[in-house]
Chain length 233, copies 2
């Protein structure tokens, strides 16, 4: 019998974690069912279920209805990254955020944008480019295309006063999106904006979002050399 000081689902969760980590239940093995565990821990099945569900969401166990619960054979590590508004990310590091609009105009979007968003070729979209600074050093370049059909009133906005990044998050709800992280060499124009050397390696985030079926925006964030996106497991 196990001494769980607190008989809560958290306690049980930890105990199950321990048994998996210490290979008491090795990868691939079958875990006792919820009813048995509930009996062992002296709690309701609901409580065990809660603990187990947490393990399943973390990818540590696989559950199937009549087959039971097994320790995952290939424990993937599931990394959670929180992407806040850029201003907040900067301010959280106690740096001073500032921002500058580079360009803002309606124009036919290039094919690489329209095709990814599933829009007609040469659809007129709002193109906004800008820079974000942390303590007056260039932090990132934002290159954004906005579907005016999805965001009423966006054509009248002046993104010199408020960043598109922030305004859209507040004013253009979305239901889903794709994100891709990659590395690119800065071309001379980008290098100059980021005050970096030509060809410097730049961390790039490409993101497109939709609201239901309607594409909202496609954006590329190019971070100044040295930027690291951190997280914990």
């Amino acid at each position: 019998m196990t001494d769980l000081d607190t008989i809560s689902w958290r306690g049980i969760h930890l105990e199950l974690l321990r048994r998996i980590n210490e290979r008491i239940w090795p990868p691939g093995s079958l875990i006792p069912n919820e009813a048995d565990l509930a009996a062992e821990f002296g709690c309701a099945r609901t409580t065990v279920n809660r603990a187990m569900r947490e393990l399943a969401e973390a990818g540590l166990v696989d559950r199937k209805r009549r087959a039971g619960t097994r320790v995952a054979l290939h424990p993937i590590s599931r990394v959670v990254i929180d992407i806040p508004i850029i201003r907040l990310e900067v301010e959280q590091r106690n740096a001073e955020w500032s921002y500058g609009l580079l360009s803002q105009d309606m124009q036919p979007a290039p094919a690489r944008i329209t095709s990814r968003l599933g829009l007609e070729r040469d659809t007129a979209m709002l193109h906004v480019t800008s820079m974000h600074f942390a303590d007056n050093h260039p932090l990132l370049h934002e290159d954004r295309w906005i579907n005016p059909a999805a965001v009423p009133g966006v054509e009248e906005m002046d993104f010199a006063a408020v960043s598109a990044n922030e305004w859209l998050i507040q004013n253009a709800p979305y239901t889903g999106g794709d994100i891709a992280f990659s590395a690119l060499n800065a071309d001379s124009k980008l290098a100059e904006l980021l005050e970096a050397d030509d060809g410097a390696a730049v961390f790039v985030v490409d993101r497109i979002t939709w609201d239901g079926q309607v594409p909202v925006t496609a954006v590329r964030l190019s971070y100044a050399p040295g930027y690291r996106m951190n997280t914990r497991v």
Copy 2:
């Protein structure tokens, strides 16, 4: 009253999502409490709680005990990235995975490793470098330091036969880790290994893991140019 075809927590979850998305409950506003919502939906408070908890975990609402639930003012997007074993990642794309060991030896770890892991200067660690290929094209370079004190038997392993990436995941449990994503210019040696140009922008994953208080491994994965890490929101 709302027509929820299925009175399940998922249905309620969707309905709450809709009200947030459509600004029926604008950012910052207070949401009715669980009991009231349960009455509205004609279900038990438990069920509403389940739906609300999901929203809270996604960062869409903030909940405080006596204060109630508010729609998050700065909706962060919470991205979940699954990092599988490299072999599986390759095979999932229907590519043929192959692997080559470059070096494997015990040596005093450099300060940048020991300091990040909280180990004594010049601690002897197992240094393993290798390459992973997809369809015989270089995919990534793996540069790994392993704490032999944390992984008994690792000194006798031959990582020519099985990749350290895979062996460790199967044999060295961990309880936590740090991950950082960044972009770096390939030096000439790395460029040659990746069959890329000198200075090419390389997507880099730095990861350290520990088991309890004991550091297990520090690894840098440098991906060949063009690699993108994708996910959805």
